[in-house]
Point group: C2
Chain length 137, copies 2
DNA sequence: TAAATATACTACCTGAAAGTAGCATTTAGG
DNA sequence: CCTAAATGCTACTTTCAGGTAGTATATTTA
């Protein structure tokens, strides 16, 4: 019961960028600050840029930068881009199609938690997370 | 953000057994009722039996049976046996060692949900789940 | 005791996520 | 124009959860 490793990486990187607004940071620099494999991070950042979550500049002095409106970037957008949101609509027991109408014994217990986590993802922006340190305390 | 597939299988099987107390069900029968790969389920049930969560009989008319005291089998015991509980003590951003004392921006938001899910696992028994149907509603 | 029906054990196969490597492409700036 | 420094692209490798196969072992029952 956890995020994919890649989602963790994406959140770490995005929060780090959000804490350095106006700065354009290279993959190398992010790699060194966040301890994420260099090449793997490169592809990940590329995806996040393609999704419009960060801006990117090529060439010398290039790199990634958070958009100005980081109060409108929500965590769910990061999770959606990286691992999708399908798990949050899914049966906890893995049955392929099932409704809320005749729920099994676990359904209500699980759905409550699932909806809470969804709410966290849908209501938290990067701006909300700027108050405190990102790297190891 | 979900349980491992094997954990889903284990919960499905255990809840199904809990709904058939006093019956000794073979792997073949569980496989047909729950749509879990036969051989894979065999190994899984073997593990659950070894962990003492179900009783087992070999040979003809053998199979698995839930213990009488199914009101003292908690979901966390199943999760613990199958995928471990390490994820519930883990940093959401994947940092190796970190304390609650100087938390990062996400920490409090995440820990609250994590503790709620842990509480569900630690407070729900198989007996609690017997009220409603297990298979597809 | 022999056949039938079950679990237990061991080894191997598969697919997807994670990680690695090399080269192409873009841009700043002397 | 040329070089340095950056991202982008493509392909390969590794790791592990999930799944398959065959055989050994245990138990009931005729
Ligand atoms: S009712 Fe039960 S089987 Fe159906 S989706 Fe909910 S948890 Fe899954
Ligand atoms: S404070 Fe942040 S970095 Fe530390 S364990 Fe909590 S979520 Fe992870």
């Amino acid at each position: 019961m956890r995020f994919q490793k890649t989602t963790e990486y994406a959140i770490r990187a995005m929060v780090y960028l959000a804490k350095h607004p106006g700065q354009r940071l290279s993959t190398r620099s992010l790699h060194e600050s966040l301890d994420i494999p260099y090449k793997y991070l490169g592809r990940l950042m590329s995806r996040l840029a393609e999704a419009g979550l960060v801006s990117v500049e090529h060439g010398k002095h290039g790199g990634y930068q958070i958009s100005e409106n980081r109060d409108s970037i929500y965590l769910y957008q990061i999770a959606e881009e990286v691992e999708g949101l399908e798990d949050y609509e899914r049966c906890i027991l893995g049955f392929p199609d099932c409704s809320d109408e005749h729920p099994c014994a676990l359904h209500d217990r699980w759905v409550a938690h699932r909806e809470n986590i969804k709410a966290m993802l849908y209501e938290t922006t990067l701006a909300d997370l700027e108050e405190e340190p990102t790297k190891q305390p």
